[in-house]
């Protein structure tokens, strides 16, 4: 019985990969063997669940390329903690998904192995950076996938592909075995088509890990309990100022419609203000690039991955390896990060950004005094054409306008599909909550799913589920 469902996912992944390019590696042999081992053994909470994993999360025995030539077919000698926990619960990893190089991008066009295509329209991007995971879930290849979210890299592709995408509270999930991009912002996130699946996977992977000092010692509830129940007395914050300039009219209308649905379900809608939200992109692209320039210093051609040939001496080997191994966006961010941290600029950029980060964090603390969750769009537009923004990095960064604040403040965020545009492209809304409020976000998503189930299926579809 497990074998059949795993075989289905593998076959779908294989058959659709020419069209979607969602997978960088499909582990047919390993996954089927694992399914067979599970038959008759003690069944875990996730026994037989097929899961796809973004290629920046280490799975022992499989490659971890991070979508980069510099790691190539690196085989990590250990499992990420989230993978260890998934496998102990009986989940089966069927493969590694394509992503923007080192999770840097909002369209998946920065992968060294070619862009992922959106299952709703293959001329459009799936979003990024976890685009392969989002596309795999949207196309019905797997019910669940893992991604990482540093500035929206789970929520934005979830929105563009019409699936759920959760970025938990900072410190909820272990980052051990997640290749570091910006350590104070990174969190492992979950994609699924049903809220219940997000909840049961989070219950398994969340919690303190001695290998990651930034995981918090906060008890992990059973997130499946409490998914149902009425919303009377729940206060949802509506930040009117975020529904203005730059927001697509169809997205705006769809999200406001969702607000209406919540009102009908008994929730109270309250106006909130996040006065520093408009500065979030500027803060993010200082802090994230600064941390990246430091984290990516380790890729030097000595211990693993690619090494450039014909270097006469050590420093030249470092420089050639990094020049040839990294793609343009990664280099751009390393350069920006090095620039903002360099002598004479530190106070003007990095320190200033950390101060404004405090203001953004305080905006949320104040807003959550009067509400239990905040609703916003997840992305300013539905999926855009492949190639449209590749030459304009700043325009690409502005895609993250609604998502980066959660990473800067450390609060959880969940993207929920809520309709299609006239071009039949998915639209999502985002729920943000106080620290550790995943139960309320999941309940809100589940209630929405109950009354407004998202039943449309993309053109490219594995045709089951």
């Amino acid at each position: 019985m497990f074998r059949e469902s795993i075989e289905f996912s593998i076959k779908a992944a294989e058959e659709l990969n020419d069209t979607l390019n969602a997978f960088l590696q499909i582990d047919r042999k390993g996954a089927l063997q694992r399914a067979d081992e599970l038959e008759g053994s003690t069944r875990g909470e996730l026994a037989g669940l097929a899961v796809a994993v973004k290629d920046n999360i280490c799975v022992k025995g499989l490659q971890t390329s991070c979508g980069s030539k510099i790691l190539g077919a690196y085989h990590p000698p250990y499992n990420a903690t989230v993978i260890e926990r998934l496998q102990n619960a009986g989940a089966v990893i069927i493969g590694k998904t394509n992503c923007d190089e080192f999770a840097m991008g909002s369209s998946n066009e920065n992968s060294a192995f070619g862009p992922v295509r959106n299952p709703w329209d293959t001329s459009k991007v799936p979003g990024g950076s976890s685009g392969g995971s989002a596309a795999a879930v949207a196309a019905g290849i797997v019910p669940v996938a893992l991604g990482s979210d540093t500035g929206g890299s789970v929520r934005q592709p979830a929105s563009l592909c019409g699936v759920l995408g959760l970025k938990p509270t900072y410190g909820r999930n272990s980052r051990y075995g997640l290749v570091a991009f910006a350590s104070s912002l990174d969190q492992v996130g979950i994609f699924a088509r049903k809220t219940e699946d997000v909840a049961r996977v989070l219950t398994v992977i969340a919690g303190r890990d001695k290998h990651d000092a930034t995981t918090a010692d906060v008890p992990v509830p059973d997130y499946q309990k409490g998914l149902n129940g009425d919303l009377k007395g729940v206060r949802i914050g509506f930040p009117n100022a975020l529904f203005g300039k730059g927001l697509d009219v169809e997205v705006s209308a769809a999200v406001k419609q969702a607000v209406q649905v919540y009102q009908e379900l008994g929730a109270e809608i309250v106006e909130v203000d996040l006065p520093h939200a408009s500065y979030a992109i500027a803060v993010y692209y200082i802090i994230a690039t600064a941390e990246a320039s430091s984290n990516l210093a380790r890729f030097d051609g000595v211990r693993y991955g690619f090494r450039a040939e014909d270097a006469a001496e050590l420093r030249q080997m470092y420089r050639k390896t990094r020049e040839e191994g990294f793609g343009p966006e990664v280099k751009r961010r390393i350069m920006l990060g090095t620039y903002v941290l360099s002598a004479g600029y530190y106070d003007a950029y990095y320190r200033k950004a950390q101060q404004v980060r405090t203001l953004i964090k305080n905006d949320f603390i104040n807003a959550f005094k009067v509400c239990d969750a905040i609703i916003t769009p997840t992305a300013p537009t539905p999926a855009f054409p492949i190639g449209e923004k590749v030459d304009d990095p700043l325009a690409m960064y502005l895609n993250d306008i609604y998502t980066v604040t959660a990473n800067l403040a450390g609060v959880p965020g969940l993207s929920v599909p809520c309709g299609l545009s006239t071009e039949r492209l998915p639209i999502g809304f985002q729920l943000l909550g106080p620290y550790w409020s995943e139960p309320i976000l999941l309940k809100l998503a589940n209630e929405y799913e109950r009354v407004r189930p998202f039943t449309d299926r993309p053109k490219v579809n594995a045709d089951r589920n």
Binding site: A216, E323, I334, M335, V356, K361
Partner: protein, 99 residues
């Protein structure tokens, strides 16, 4: 502040990137545009604001992360060298350090 090709070349050197001229020419206007965008933070008065030390929660900050100072098993030489582009005699081999 205008950013010159020289500035970017210097940053590339600090970041251990050997940028060819054509890449340098693409990066200069792009980085200039991004830096001038982030300059908007200067509008904000932050004289009395503490910088955020990461996105840490109060619960995260209270979490005790020290561990006993005990020897535990590690990867081992063979595993640690298994992915190295050049390994020899139980070591990572690199090009000449002194020239």
């Amino acid at each position: 502040m205008p950013i010159s090709e020289n500035d970017i070349a210097k940053v590339a050197q600090l970041a251990h990137l050997e940028l060819p001229d054509e890449e340098l020419k693409i990066f200069v206007p792009q980085i200039t545009e991004i830096v001038s965008y982030v300059e908007q933070l200067k509008e904000l008065d932050t004289r009395n604001v503490e910088p955020a030390l990461g996105g840490l929660t109060p619960e995260g900050e209270r979490t005790e992360s020290s561990r006993p100072d005990e020897v535990i098993a590690c990867l081992g030489q063979r595993t640690a060298l298994a992915e190295a582009p050049a390994a020899a005699e139980g070591h990572f081999r690199v090009p000449k350090v002194l020239t």
